[in-house]
């Protein structure tokens, strides 16, 4: 792996923490997927992308990732249900889930929080926000 400009100045321990990271991205908007895939790949993540909500839980279970990024509105099954099912499964309680929401979905957001979403990001987000959120979530999971 090449050293990345975004990571220069970070401590050794953090550099270690960021190794071998795997994220599953469930998003039906192909160009968002492409942009996030590009960003996270450059940041050292391996990215699995998936568009269908109905099969998302299986995909996540099989991949056993370090992090899930999940859109709230998905074809087949809503992000809310997916989180609920994940949390009900064994071994998935601590998996960090970053949920993408649109403004005006505050009510859904409250429900998603109860369902077990770890963090939210409101569309349209900046690339810096995505990277910060993903790094924070991973660091928290590493400590816990």
């Amino acid at each position: 792996m090449r050293a990345r400009t975004g990571l220069s100045g970070r401590g050794r321990r953090e550099e270690f923490l960021l190794m071998g990271r795997h994220v599953v991205l469930i998003e039906d908007e192909p160009n968002i997927t492409e942009a996030i895939r590009f960003l996270l790949t450059r940041d050292g993540w391996s990215v699995d992308a998936h568009t269908d909500g109905a099969t998302a839980v299986e995909v996540i279970r099989d991949a056993n990732p370090d992090l899930v990024i999940l859109d709230l509105m998905l074809p087949g099954k809503s992000g809310l249900e997916i989180v609920r099912e994940l949390r009900a499964e064994g071994g998935m309680q601590a998996l960090p889930v970053l949920m993408l929401t649109a403004r005006g979905q505050m009510r859904d957001r409250e429900m998603a929080e109860k369902a077990g979403v770890t963090r939210f990001m409101t569309k349209p987000f900046s690339n810096a926000e995505v990277l910060t959120a993903v790094r924070d979530l991973h660091a928290q999971a590493g400590q816990g």
Binding site: E29, E34, M73, G104, P124
Partner: protein, 432 residues
């Protein structure tokens, strides 16, 4: 409480209206005064021959005495009492209230029904905003596309050495997404606009009258040619539901008729063709006042005037009495408008013609040529304060539009910063 127990109260009511003494009515009906007294206080049931006899003396139908107020009215009153949230001491006397004061009871009941209708409307609207799946999907689509564009654009802008294949791919995505964004945002806007049309705008007399004038394009050939009078035109207009709206529309048409007589269409059209759109010259030619000319110009069909024209009229309180909209010039639907309009400049300098180029704050800053004047509504009299109204003709495309005066529609939707005329804060965020 049985319904017929109030027959006595109604008899008493009726007798008092007629100014009859108890003894007189009793004698006419062939009963004793004390027995009538018991009946009137609802202590004795009454029916059959005696009821018919008393009704005959009182000059009413027997059913008026026995049936009284409508059951529906009573149940609405009960609902109103229950919904008020405060304990109503006289709930058991609701029949009596409805029977003795049917007019007031109807006022109370119709007020209650109106509140219920309004509450339903509010619920429907707020439900629509929070739960409407189409709206939610539209908003989600717009924001998702915006998110894709933002991410892609900043990758292109911020990544130093980007491989050509990636760069081309992101450019292509950007192009796709911007197209989709323009389509989905248009869909969203038309969706939001839909809710504003049709029946739910009705209800205010001013709005009904406006819809009526709008339906004819503010031009009435029958009044121009003298083949109809205002009363006939408003009588069967489908836009005019309430009596109040009909009377407002009739007043507007009567003004129209008088103006059309002062400046007949054929002569006015000739005057405009030869001398151009010069209100003062036209006023001289026809020997009439400037307000008539301005109102008249706004009532002309576009092909005669050669352009679109809007018009507003206000009274001395600044309230808009008449609105003919013109493309690009926003007029508030409710409440007061922008005090910077030349209309109000004219209002504080009665009889002095005011002409200003204005540009409305907002996205499409088009210039308008505004001509305004205030006139006394009635012949000035000694010892009476004059009552002024002001009229403003609004023509799109300012004549020599250097330095047009900035104006708004109304403060709440005006983004202009540091405006000395601001009356209340804007609901618009500064960044929009």
């Amino acid at each position: 409480m049985a319904r017929d127990t109030l027959t006595g109260s109604r008899i008493r009511e009726r007798r008092l209206i007629l100014g009859l003494r108890q003894a007189e009515l009793a004698r006419e009906a062939g009963i004793s005064a004390s027995y009538l007294n018991l009946i009137e206080h609802n202590r004795r049931r009454i029916g059959g021959k005696l009821l018919v006899g008393i009704a005959g003396v009182l000059g009413v139908e027997p059913s008026m005495l026995s049936e009284g107020a409508e059951a529906a009215l009573i149940s609405t009153l009960r609902e109103a009492a229950a919904d008020s949230g405060v304990p109503v001491a006289e709930l058991d006397r609701v029949d009596e209230f409805a029977g003795r004061f049917p007019g007031w009871a109807e006022v109370l009941a119709s007020g209650h029904r109106r509140i219920a209708t309004l509450e339903r409307t509010v619920e429907t609207l707020s439900d629509r905003l929070t739960h409407d799946p189409n709206l939610a999907a539209s908003v989600h689509e717009v924001l998702s596309t915006a998110a894709a564009i933002r991410s892609t654009a900043s990758i292109l802008a911020e990544t130093g050495e980007l491989e050509p294949e990636w760069r081309d791919r992101f450019h292509k995505n950007l192009n796709q997404d911007s197209l989709r964004l323009s389509e989905s945002s248009r869909a969203l806007v038309s969706f939001l606009d839909e809710g504003d049309t049709g029946e739910d705008r009705r209800g205010m007399p001013q709005e009904e009258a406006e819809a009526f004038l709008q339906a004819s394009g503010f031009h009435f050939p029958a009044l121009e040619e003298g083949t109809a009078v205002p009363q006939e035109l408003v009588q069967h207009a489908p836009e005019l539901v309430s009596e109040a709206a009909r009377s407002l529309a009739r007043a507007a048409l009567e003004q129209y008729q008088a103006d059309a007589r002062a400046m007949p269409l054929p002569a006015l059209a000739r005057g405009i063709r030869s001398g151009g759109l010069d209100p003062v010259a036209l006023a001289r030619q026809f020997g009439c006042g400037l307000p008539v000319v301005l109102r008249r110009l706004a009532a002309l069909p576009e092909e005669v005037l050669g352009r679109e024209a809007g018009l507003v009229i206000c009274d001395a309180s600044g309230t808009l009495l008449f609105r003919k909209p013109v493309t690009g010039f926003a007029m508030p639907r409710f409440g007061a408008s922008c005090p910077l309009w030349p209309l109000y400049t004219a209002l504080v300098r009665p009889q002095v013609p005011v002409r200003r180029n204005v540009v409305q704050q907002g996205r499409n800053a088009a210039a308008f040529d505004c001509m305004a004047v205030a006139w006394p509504l009635e012949m000035p009299d000694f010892g009476a304060d004059p009552l002024y109204r002001a009229v403003m003709l609004i023509l799109p495309g300012g004549q020599d539009a250097q330095d047009p005066q900035p104006v708004g529609a109304s403060c709440r939707i005006c983004p202009r910063r540091g405006c000395p005329a601001r009356r209340e804060p804007s609901i618009l965020k500064e960044e929009f």
